[in-house]
Structure formats: C-alpha cells, structure tokens
Amino acid sequence: MPDQLIFGMEVFLNGLMAGVLYALVALGFVLIFKASGIFNFAQGVMALFAALTLVGIMEGEVPFSHLINAVFGTDVHNFGWTVPALLAILLTMAVMVLLAWLVNKLIFRHLVNQEPIILFMATIGLAYFLEGFGDMMWGSNIKKMDVGLPQGINDWIDAATFDIFGYGFFIDNLDIVATVVAALLVVALIIFAQYTKQGRAMRAVADDHQAALSVGISLSFIWVMVWSLAGFVALVAGIMWGTKSGVQFSLSLIALKALPVLMLGGFTSIPGAIVGGLIIGVGEKLFEFTIGPMVGGATENWFAYVLALIFLVFRPQGLFGEKIIERV
C-alpha cells in the first residue's frame, strides 16, 4: 500500500478517537436541550467546574482559601488529606447534583414558558457566574488530573499494525478509554431512557411539557435529574480533557469543539451526538492531513464548522434531528 494511504488510515482512526472526545462534550448539551429546550451555554464551564471540584477534593484543598485568607488574614490552603479517586468522583457528583438543584430552584423555575433565546441568555449568566465562582473556590493555577487513566501510545496496536503495514499506528491509550467510557455512557443513557420509570418520564417531558404535567410527572424533578445527568457528562468530559492538558481555565473552551457536532448530529439526538462527533473528528483531521499543508495548516477550527454547514444546507435539522414541520 502507498505510504499516504497508510498514513491516511492512521489519521482516520485518530479522527474517530478525537470525535469521541467531542461527542462526550456534545452529549451534555443534547441531554438538556432535549428535555427542556434550553441551549446550555454553560456546559463547557460546568465541565471545568466539575474537574476543578474533583481535583480540589482529591488533593484536599480548602475551598475559597484565597478569600478566607484575604478576609481573615489566615494562611490555610490544605486540609492535609487526599481522597481516593472513586470517592472524590462520588463527592463531585453530589456537588453537581446540588448545582443542578440550585440552578432549577433559582433560575429555571422562574423562567418556565419563556422563549428559547431568553433561556439561552440565562445560561450565559450562569456561565459567567460559575467562571468566577469556580476560580474563587479552587484558585486559578493549573492542576494535574490524576485519576489513574493510562496515557501514551498503545504498544499493542503499534506492534500489530507494524506487522501488517510495516508502519505502526499511533493510538492514544486515553482515547481508547474515552471511547469505551463514551460507549458505556450512551448505552446506559439509552437503557435509562427506554426502560426506567424516570427515563420514560424524561422522554414524556421532552415530548410535551404540559401533557407530561397533566399525567402527574413532576417537571422540577425531571429537570433537576436532567441537569444532574448533564453535570455527570460534564464531569466525564472534564476528566478526559483534564487528563490531556491539566485542569485549567481553558477547559471551558471545549464547548466550542462540541458546537459543530451538535449542528451536525442535531440538538435532540443522543446517537446524533456520537455520529456527529465521529464525522467532525474524521472530517477535520483528514482535511488537515490532505488540504491543510496546501493552505498553511491550522484549518481544523473552521473546517469543522464549514463541514457542519454544508451538511445543514442539505438537512437543516441536522442528521438525526426531528424533522421540522412548519405550519402557519
């Protein structure tokens, strides 16, 4: 096989893996949009907040230590203990559930039946708030995310592909973990939505709020649940991306990677998020590989959007979005 083709295959596989990471972020958007029609701008910041909280708990940092020290003149930074990863993840989840409850109690209960753009605006306010709050709570330095995920080249794939093609493929162990986790997450979400009482209630709410209310489903409960689920997805995304780059402010920018995925997959489809992610991941990587060198590279950011745009011109509701029926 010609070299370029083999390299292309490697790029293709890595594109798939990158796509899974994008899809992980996109899932959180889809969950909330499907259940409540809210385009949650704060999803990226939630991922940052979740990751910060997780690391903070694991390292036993004192929350708001800088504020406390500034106000009381004390010098506290650390409780002096470390918490095992699994327990810390559970504690972080508790924090995210609390956040979901607060968000609904304080914001969205008061905004029922508002237009989508108003709800979107409210999530922008939430993003601002969480950005300041998270930084104040845990400090702005870069933190190492170490929950024991493997990183680096997978030797087995390297050796196996070397035997076949004479060139060992590079696949990151972390990407493999992410793929497995994403697959589990999607299966779990689908099972939850199809076969549990709460899951069915969630789908009923997504179909029609009022009808769901009239058969006795508690809207508040469902929304808190959905926001908690989105918080969980944000935590998973935060762990994966945080392992790559350390936990820092820029983590909140991963939301930008999810937007073209959402356009492509449709705002309301969980499988759409995954398929959209894969298409965007592969598309942008292959474009950078083939056309990139001719135009000077660094094309991935805009190409993802252009790719999604081209798809949308042919299917305005996204790949898996619900068909738009317009009546006067």
Binding site: F39, H66, L67, A70, L106, I107, H110, L111, Q114, E115, P116, I117, I118, F120, M121, A122, I124, G125, L126, A127, Y128, F129, L130, E131, G132, F133, D135, M136, S140, L256, L259, P260, L262, M263, F267, V295, G296, A298, T299, N301, W302, Y305, V306, A308, L309, L312, V313, P316, Q317, G318, I324, E326, R327, V328
Partner: protein, 358 residues
C-alpha cells in the same frame, strides 16, 4: 403625568411621521444630544474616553447592527466578531493604500465591504434556522479570523502580523494615532453612533423594517403575504454587517489603534455582542445602547468600587465581578425577561400614570 401622549396633537403628516412623534421622547432625545455633543467633550479626559465612552459608543454601533439581524429579523448570528474583523482590516487596507482620502470615508467604505461579506455568509440563512443558524455563522467567525491571520496581504506583510493605525486627520485634527485628543476621538465615534442609531431607527420603522419583523415573527406566513424572504433576510444581513463593519473599523482605528485579529475579534467578541443585544432588549435601538452600557460600564464600575474603593486584591475582585455580572444577568431575566428596553417601557408606563395609578 410626566410621560404624556394625550394632548400631543399633530396637524401634518410630516409631524406625525417624525422619528420621535411623542413630545417627551423628542425633548429627552434633544437633551441627550446636547449633553453628548456640547457638554461631554469639555469634561472628559483620557481615562473616561478610552475606558468608558469609546468602547460604549463602538459597542453600541455593533449592537445596533446585530440587533437588526437578531432582534428585528430573527436571525441569530454568532459571526459578529468575524464581521468586525472584516471592517477593521478593510479600514486598515484603505487607510494605508489611500492615505489622502478622509478617514470617515474609509470607515464607511469598510462598512460597505463588510456588508458584502455579510450577505455572502447570510446565504445559508435561507435554509437554516434558529440555533442551527447561530452555530452555522460561527463558520464565518472562525474562517474569517483564520483568513486574516493566514494571508499576509491583509496585514501588509509586516513581520509581526499585527496591524496598527497610522495617524489620520479630520479637518486637520488627528482622530487616529497616539496624538489624538480625547474629545476628537469621542466626537468622531459619537457622530457615527448617532447616525447609525438614526438610520437604524428609521429603517426599522419603514417598510423594510416591517418586512424584517414579519420574517422574524413567522417566515412562512410572511412569505405568503408577499414578503420575499431572500431579499428580506439578505438585506438584514447587509445592513447589520454594515453597522458591525463600521464598529469594527472604529474599534481598530480609533479605540485600540493596534490589533491582532485572533485576540481582538475572537469568538468572545461575537458572544459579547450577542449578550449586549439580549440583555439590552431584542428589537430595540435604545436596548442596544443599554446593553452596551451594561456590559461596558458595569465591569469598570465594579472594578473601581472593589479594587480602588474597598482595596480588595485584584484577582478576588475580578472573580467577584464575574459572579456579580452573571448574577445580575440572571436576576434581570427573572425579573424582566425582555431586557433593559422592556424595563424602560415599564418605566414609561409608570411615568404616564404617576402619581395617580388608577
């Protein structure tokens, strides 16, 4: 009591069709104009101009532009940062290629060029709607920024890739470059802001504005009653981009003087403008000014209060600033979901009845 519509008689069509038909509005408007043109220039210094007035005026122009698109025509756009960049780079190229032409003309030409680019990126709006369109306009945002960074022609092949505004004068008085007097820069931007607001207000009151609103409220219904969606949507994109382009040109030439595209016109700028429009109030010219004021003034005010006034550490103050801005946005929405402009409308309602509410 204070805000009266009754007793305000009109005897000619011209009177009835003027921009502000109600006396109170008209006088208020005159007072603001007199203050802005005749009082403010004498009392401001470098700090007030560069930290408060210039960003406020320039963002107001951009917010008016975006409001035409989002608030009047219902097409959500997140490409405004990219369009501002088009305005800025067009202005730079014109300024350096034709140094003898007046800068005001360059700024308007930059707006026109941006309008053309805006129409091009507005084409997908004919098929894509709502949040899908919003995300689709991000393609414009990222592509334009990449392009200006990539093609050296746009920054005149300078080694640094930054563009900086050379000194240009209006009536012999410098308005760009470092020697600019604060009042000159202020007045230059003020003229553009007032003109933009007037044009926008009259456009939105007229036939074209009604077409936009028809498209916003329901595009299929509008099409059935004879509004051409192609023309209406693309004209909204053109007019909107024209104002945003002017804002971009002023942002570069007057306010910052030197910029780099990724930093000055990144995705954050697009979001910021959209926030202004929504917080101010969709479909309101006054709202555009109010939104810009809210997001420009509030951080400066909070910073001065917390850091200079209460002597907090700067980082804590900034974190708190984010928390307060976010909290206020939410609070406003819960109290009044239709933005600051609606608050103003409610206030007028109260003024009309006060002090006899029944």
């Amino acid at each position: 009591m204070f805000y009266r519509e009754a007793g305000d008689f009109k005897t000619s069509y011209a009177e009835d069709n003027q921009t502000f038909p109600i006396k109170f509005d008209r006088y208020r408007y005159y007072v603001v104009l007199v203050l802005a043109f005749a009082v403010v220039p004498f009392i401001i210094n470098d700090y007030w101009v560069n930290a408060v007035f210039l960003p406020f005026l320039i963002y107001s122009i951009a917010a008016i532009g975006l409001n035409i698109l989002v608030g009047y025509c219902g097409q959500v756009s997140l490409g405004s940062g990219g369009f501002m960049a088009v305005g800025a780079y067009a202005c730079y190229k014109l300024m350096t290629s034709f140094p003898d032409v007046n800068i005001a003309i360059h700024v308007m030409l930059a707006g026109a060029i941006t309008a053309a680019v805006g129409v091009l990126f507005g084409l997908p709006s004919l098929r894509i709607k709502g949040f899908y369109l919003a995300v689709a306009t991000l393609a414009a945002q990222f592509f334009l920024v990449w392009l200006f960074n990539r093609v050296p022609w746009f920054y005149n092949y300078s080694a640094s890739g930054q563009i900086s505004a050379p000194e240009r004068t209006v009536f012999g008085i410098p308005v760009t470059g470092a020697e600019t007097a604060p009042w000159a820069a202020y007045l230059f931007c003020l003229v553009f802001a007032v003109a933009s607001a007037l044009i926008a207000r009259n456009l939105t009151r007229g036939m074209i504005g009604r077409k936009w609103m028809a498209i916003r409220d329901m595009d299929i219904a509008a099409e059935i009653i004879g509004v051409n969606p192609l023309k209406a949507k693309l004209s909204a994109f053109a007019v909107s981009s024209f104002f945003i382009g002017i804002a971009g040109a002023l942002f570069f030439a007057i306010y910052l003087g030197a910029i780099e595209v990724g930093e000055a016109f990144g995705i954050n700028k697009s979001f910021l403008l959209l926030f202004m429009v929504i917080i101010g109030g969709l479909g309101s010219i006054f709202g555009s000014f109010a939104g810009a004021a809210f997001l420009v003034l509030l951080p400066v005010l909070l910073k001065n209060l917390l850091v200079v006034g209460l002597e907090w550490p700067t980082d804590l103050a900034t974190h708190l600033e984010f928390i307060i801005v976010g909290g206020l946005i939410i609070l406003f929405l819960v109290a009044e979901p239709h933005g600051l402009a609606q608050l103003w409308r409610v206030a007028k309602e109260k003024l009309r009845l006060w002090p006899f509410p029944h």
